[in-house]
């Protein structure tokens, strides 16, 4: 099983080294390091306000660290905790917008596949403002998957999912892993530890390894 630790000669898809970030006097991250290799599914947990989302925002480029570095091999897909999609556009138009961003030409086929996997194809021409919270969350997640990224970074991805969608989510994650891609999931609770290759808890501004058993 992959180790999620830095070691000489091991290829890393994502490397976070000694990242620190403060907001005023509040030092949210003091020295956070994380390494994710191909085919790894890594989880980060922690209490509310512990710095999980700050770390994620630094990894994807939404925030600048005060010190430390983030390096990545390959394309990142990012699903934020907030619903960052376009309410007045339909599901299809949202896919179109993100496909243009990723420069994905065959997006209709990929969209159809994702709509089928996450079971919300019947809403393809429905404006997002008319969707339930759970379906919006599916869209929020699906557009992060659209360009088949090498590293998928997910912030509280399954809040609002029903059980069936939750299982579909892990099916897609498992497929991602088989294709030697990496997945980083941040969640304030993890109730199926064995689904992860490595788990970390953000505490006192650092990442502490946790058992996956």
């Amino acid at each position: 099983m992959p180790s999620s630790t830095e070691s000489a000669g091991v290829e890393q898809l994502l490397s976070v080294r000694h990242v620190a970030r403060a907001f005023g006097r509040n030092r949210v991250l003091i020295d956070a390091s994380l390494f994710i290799g191909p085919g790894e599914v890594v989880g980060i947990t922690g209490e509310n306000g512990s710095g999980k989302s700050t770390l994620l925002n630094i990894i994807v480029g939404r925030l600048r660290p005060d010190s430390g570095t983030v390096t990545a091999s390959g394309r990142i897909g990012y699903c934020p905790q907030e619903m960052l999609v376009f309410d007045t556009l339909t599901v299809r138009e949202n896919f179109r917008f993100f496909a243009a961003a990723y420069e994905v030409a065959d997006w209709p086929a990929r969209m159809d596949a994702l709509l089928g996997r996450l079971n919300f194809g019947r809403y393809v021409d429905t404006p997002v403002s008319h969707l339930s919270g759970g379906t919006r969350q599916k869209l929020n997640l699906a557009v992060a998957w659209l360009h088949e990224p090498d590293i998928l970074v997910l912030d509280e991805p399954y809040s609002g999912f029903d059980w069936e969608t939750y299982l579909h989510f892990w099916d897609i994650t498992a497929e991602h892993r088989r294709l030697n891609r990496a997945v980083l999931v941040v969640s304030h609770f993890v109730h199926e530890r064995t689904r992860f290759d490595a788990l970390y808890r953000v505490a006192a501004g650092r990442l502490e390894p946790e058992s996956v058993r």
Partner: protein, 265 residues
């Protein structure tokens, strides 16, 4: 293999669709100026009043009906005000979703460029509509230039709206900042009758609606040249636009992870 959709073209199409789906707002773009005109027509006299043409050399006096001058003034104010709120909405709405698009590969210039094009098209349409209503009340001396003056008011205040939208994260602050300037400037001080008797005309000349208002007034009632008014409007609008772009780019700034030197991407 089919090439990917153009990012700018997609942003333009979808931004326009977002706006058009807000049907009440689109309708209000036409109802508000019509209502303003109706109120002016019902409340003003047709008696002639004198006022100075401030931007013309020597500031000659003009004698025109109070109703006609008020219609030009309110038309300019309506287009400016509507453009400012539209600019605010275009930038502020979904700004975090737009930032997500930037993380996914969009350039901020493509997103703001699409919004600017939509804004300019709407300003041109509303400016034309507001000018087209004028012949119901009186015949302007140079109709096309009056229309251009309205459109320039929309350009100046639309760019001001973009700037306010780029600066403020919350809608209320944006609305208040627009109301503050637009009400005092376009909605009050640029009234040619008020301007003629004002104690401190320098302040009025420095405000954003001054040049577009002057252009509409000069074109509506005289044959004097409007070159200075056009230049002043374009300079003012472009300055707002440049500031809006600078703030927008700062807001959209991201710091992508560096490529791993060990592994080819």
């Amino acid at each position: 293999m089919k090439p990917p959709d153009s990012r700018f073209g997609t942003a333009l199409t979808l931004t326009a669709r977002e706006l058009l789906r807000n049907r009440v707002a689109v309708l209000m773009l036409f109802i508000i100026p019509t209502l303003f005109y109706t109120i002016v027509a019902l409340t003003t006299r047709t008696a002639k009043v004198p006022f100075k043409l401030a931007s013309v050399a020597g500031s000659p006096l003009a004698q025109v009906s109070e109703r006609s001058s008020s219609l030009i003034f309110i038309g300019t104010a309506a287009v400016g005000l509507l453009a400012a709120f539209l600019g605010l909405s275009l930038v502020q709405k979904n700004i975090e979703a737009n930032r997500r698009l930037v993380l996914c590969g969009y350039r901020p210039a493509e997103l703001i460029g699409a919004r600017l094009v939509v804004l300019l098209v709407v300003v041109a349409v509303v400016g034309t509509f507001v000018a087209e209503l004028l012949p119901l009340f009186f015949t302007p001396e140079r109709f096309v230039l009056v229309m251009a003056g309205f459109a320039l008011a929309g350009f100046v205040y639309g760019c001001y709206g973009l700037l306010v939208g780029a600066i403020f994260r919350r809608e209320l602050e944006g609305i208040l900042f627009i109301s503050l300037l637009a009400n005092i400037d376009a909605g009050w001080l640029q009234n040619p009758v008020y301007y003629a008797g004002a104690q401190n005309q320098v302040i009025i000349r420095l405000l954003p609606a001054y040049y577009p208002s002057q252009m509409s007034i000069i074109a509506a009632f005289t044959r004097y040249g409007v070159g200075r008014a056009v230049t002043g409007s374009l300079v003012y609008g472009s300055a707002f636009l440049a500031l809006a772009l600078a703030v927008y780019f700062l807001r959209m700034r991201i710091r992508r992870p560096r490529p791993n030197p060990m592994t080819p991407v």
